[in-house]
Symmetry: C2
């Protein structure tokens, strides 16, 4: 189906919004009246700009407080409407949105509403315009879509139909099944928005917290299915009022928006996509650094050994168990992935720049990613490289779809020559068995986008969002996992956009079967572990039973502890931070599925010291 | 009454929180458990730190999910409680807060709850500790204060009382009158928080949006009065969970917090303050600039004339009608006020640094301001200066309490010598008659503080908060006015803390009786007025009737128009921005009381171009 977006959903001037929508690949736009009024472009200039950009103008919106009013008032509205019809026509749009009346002057009289809307449609027809009548969730007398449809039906005018808006319908808990009772040709327009389930005043909720389909808790998919079943064939159009999107770069918001519609078409069965190829684990994590010494010292202390060097570039492979870390110290601050692709801004200090995802079928994974607008990276940079499918995540992290050690598949490790320490030989005293999770702090304005990306593109399952109390503000944190638990990806959101992006921390959590041994080994090798205060252990002692001496050991080593309601246990400790990166060592038992959120405030406070 | 604050209300480490509370002048604190657990100070060290700072520790909090559970579970809780009592005692506190049970294990059995709480209190007594039992608004079976009191009454234990929390009581709409039915000595603790009226899920509301009394919409004053009538004589203690305060500087939050309690004591009739001396208008606005040419050129174009020069400093007085503007170009970037006081950081470009408030009794005004913790500035800097009472507002703007031209009062204008253009002579063709309002963009984390400051300290009346759509985010805007409309002060809040503080705009709105003449005069004198797009005027034409040619004139001059529901009219236009400052010219008719919010998005978009 055609895909549109209301200009109010994007940040910037109207010209910037149009450009962003076109670049992302939208077919059309709704022009939000205030965006036009505040701008220097005349309706004709806007129309010409849209034509140049390959966009249609599908709707002009909104006209308010027209119907079900005393005659004198309505006559004034007709005069106003005539001007709006003229603007709509000059924009090259054929549909004008009229919202249900919210004014105290409106009367509760469906017959009057129908008669006046019919007169309005009559006038619109003279301009070649159609009226799409929409029930606002907070309309004075008309607040449900079926009520709006009854009035439209009663009016019986060919230039009058309904506009359905998923937010207005679903926020009130209306059953969207009734949409199928409306003849498809009388559904003039379909506006789509999702929203987190906030249980707040619906007007505030609508104006500040809407998001793109798939980013909230409303079942937009079923609603779209009902509209299609009813015979609706117009555009799917996003109309999102969101305080964060208003501040975010319009270009990336538009891509995020279109991705949400593509995923929605898939889930509604309108338009299939290549099936998701869910990764089964993390193949490698790549760190880029100008000075490899601090991070390789830390890796060595953790029990990693350097097992390989890239055949063509200064990138080392470090291994322990199934955990593989690439240390890229090629061009000062440029990551391995940047060497493969091109350009990009240098990053200060050590940072995590790429993740290899163990993927059953890399090219199918890349194919799906591309169909969901993930920026595809070049498969190889030099003719010697093993070709690798890769895309960029919204935070810039490069995701490589990898196969490790499977016969008959190109293997990324072939790019590396074994060093003196033979590759694949486990470190003699290493206690790390693999990756547990990778945690990435996201750019502030792109958190919902990142969750949708990892869910839709990679097929990961998002878990509940949790709040973590840092001494200087609340972090939001949300985990996504693969079908069988791996890979585990944790997306964090800093308390405010004022948090400097260069300080956005990233961390790699490693699994062990013996956290005490792992912690002792790391410390004995000279690496500091994060010190956890005594008060924390006193509290643990009050809450749980431990073996004699167990808590003393934990306190000595800075090991944190959590237990879930089913008796699953989580023990974890942290290294110091190098650049933006730190490591966590974790031991899970009895199916503990979380990330120790109960300990996050203690950990964050310790990291602040 | 004694004044306390829960450490969770402030940002930072526990040590930072204690210091901030003590410096602001609090008598005591509640120690929030997580703040202690996450920190390196032992309970004894915290106690010693508090003693050093002159703070008592009034409460340790909270213990959760204790009462109304199966016996085996309760026995485990008793063991946990023993450790908490020990910590409470070591902290030097005598009261531990126990919240009503939220766990699914809790049973709906008041007799069991009472019996178990009595056993808990028995154990507490051995440690010299009291239990304050509090109904959480989302408690599983106990969610109202009167229910909590019935259980405490039934338990009949001397070491068991209730804790009342204004948020939990008022958020549920409970009637606080019933507090008077509780014997005062059984109210062990009183926690206070306000909140904006958000109609959202009470748990989310409580955890993210609480604010200090007087900053929200709950009637905390009456609740306190009821508690005092009941005989409560313990501390008034603030417990505020707020996403913004978590990020804000703890020092200024603590001052804001204590100010809210002082104002609350006044409104509850507990402790009187010097009566407010409400200003009656703006006496002057002071601009500091490194380069006076751009702003004085603009002032000249607006019809101002330089009428005086400060006797001792390079500060010029510019006048037109009753509008007086000081241009301080003394030490590059240091404002007049800074010359009077001392130090301060230099400000780039032209900025508004001080406002003179026409005040019936300056010393009484300063006396009240001081009692509400406003930083008092030196009354004069050199022996020649007229002594002026002045305080600093939360955004750093210096507020001078002035008398202009009233016989028998020290007059700030005496500091100025008339220039060649005789002082007080109206500009021959000036059309500005005085100040309409002054608008100041506030530091992001201190908006609620600023509103409370201007309301409590100056006695201004806050109006509803409105959202203004800038192309790159929503601004919040809130006006405060004096008893008879003047002065008008508008506080704005930028969309996010990422907005650079140096770009926080300020503006001075001037009144005229003839906006067309004022705009023409300004333009003829060479100053640009903000260009408003044609689309805006087309829309105005559709909405209202204008005299022939009227809209053409407005469009030519960039005059915006608004009309309220009573027919009051507002016409306004804007100059270019110099440094952080721009001017608005406004003409009000028929009692229009707003600020043209309907036009704000058009104005903001034009300023972005």
């Amino acid at each position: 189906m055609r895909k549109s977006i209301a200009t109010v959903s994007l940040s910037g001037s109207l010209a910037e919004k149009l450009t962003a929508a076109a670049r992302a690949g939208f077919d059309g736009v709704e022009i939000f009246e205030n965006d036009m009024l505040a701008g220097p472009l005349s309706p004709e200039e806007i129309r010409a700009r849209a034509v140049d950009l390959g966009l249609t103008i599908d709707l002009y919106q909104p006209m308010r407080d027209v119907e079900a009013v005393p005659e004198a008032e309505f006559v004034r509205s007709l005069r106003r409407a005539e001007r709006k019809f003229d603007v709509t026509r000059r924009l090259g749009a054929d549909t004008l949105l009229v919202c249900s009346n919210v004014s105290p002057q409106a009367v509760d009289d469906d017959a009057l509403a129908a008669a006046q809307l019919a007169r309005l449609a009559d006038l619109a027809q003279d301009f070649g315009i159609r009226i799409a009548y929409e029930a606002l969730a907070w309309g004075r007398h008309v607040s449900t879509y079926d009520h709006a449809w009854r009035i439209v039906e009663q009016a019986g005018h060919p230039a009058l139909g309904v506009c359905l808006d998923s937010f207005h319908i679903l926020s009130r808990g209306s059953n969207p099944k009734g949409i199928e009772d409306i003849p498809g040709e009388k559904i003039f327009f379909l506006q789509l928005a999702d929203a987190p389930l906030l249980a707040m005043d619906v007007l505030q909720w609508s104006r500040h917290y809407r998001c793109f389909p798939g980013q909230g808790g409303l079942d937009v998919t079923s609603l779209v299915r009902h509209a299609v079943n009813a015979g609706y064939r117009g555009p799917l159009s996003l109309e999102v009022f969101n305080d964060v999107f208003r501040q975010a770069d319009a270009g990336s918001t538009a891509v995020d928006a279109l991705r949400s519609l593509i995923a929605l078409e898939e889930s509604a069965g309108i338009s299939p996509l290549p099936a998701p190829v869910v990764p089964t684990g993390v193949a490698f994590a790549e760190l880029a650094t100008a000075d490899p010494l601090p991070v390789t010292t830390l890796l060595t202390a953790l029990g990693f050994r350097r097992t390989g060097r890239h055949t063509g570039k200064p990138v080392d492979l470090w291994e322990q168990g199934d955990a593989r870390i690439l240390v890229n110290h090629g061009t000062g601050t440029l990551p391995y992935s940047r060497l493969r692709s091109s350009g990009g801004t240098p990053i200060d200090g050590t940072s995590l720049t790429a993740i290899g995802l163990e993927t059953p079928d890399p090219s199918a994974a890349a194919h799906r990613a591309e169909s969901l607008l993930a920026p595809v990276l070049p498969r190889r940079r030099s003719s010697q490289d093993v070709p690798l499918d890769a895309v960029a995540a919204p935070d810039g992290t490069e995701l490589f779809f990898c196969v490790t050690g499977r016969p008959g598949h190109a293997d990324w490790t072939s790019d590396f020559t074994a060093t003196a320490n033979p590759r694949r030989t486990p470190s003699p005293d290493g206690t790390v068995t693999g990756f547990d999770h990778v945690a990435l702090t996201q750019p502030w304005h792109h958190f919902d986008e990142a969750v949708l990306f990892h869910r839709a593109v990679l097929g990961l399952r998002p878990h509940e969002s949790v709040d973590l109390a840092d001494p200087y503000g609340l972090f939001r944190s949300r985990a996504l996992t693969g079908a069988h638990g791996a890979p585990r990806l944790v997306l964090n959101l800093a308390p405010s956009p004022a948090t400097d992006t260069r300080t956005r921390s990233q961390h790699i959590a490693l699994t062990t079967d013996d956290i005490t041994a792992a912690a002792r080994r790391t410390r004995a090798a000279g690496a500091e572990l994060l010190k956890i205060p005594a008060n924390y252990y006193e509290d643990l002692d009050a809450r749980y039973d431990f073996a004699p001496g167990e808590l003393d050991t934990y306190q000595e080593l800075g090991i944190l502890y959590d237990r879930d309601e089913h008796g699953g246990e989580f023990r974890h400790c942290y290294t110091a931070t190098v650049g933006r990166v730190f490591f966590e060592i974790v031991q899970r038992t009895a199916g503990y599925g979380g990330y120790g959120a109960a300990n996050a405030s203690v950990r964050l406070a310790a990291q602040r010291r």
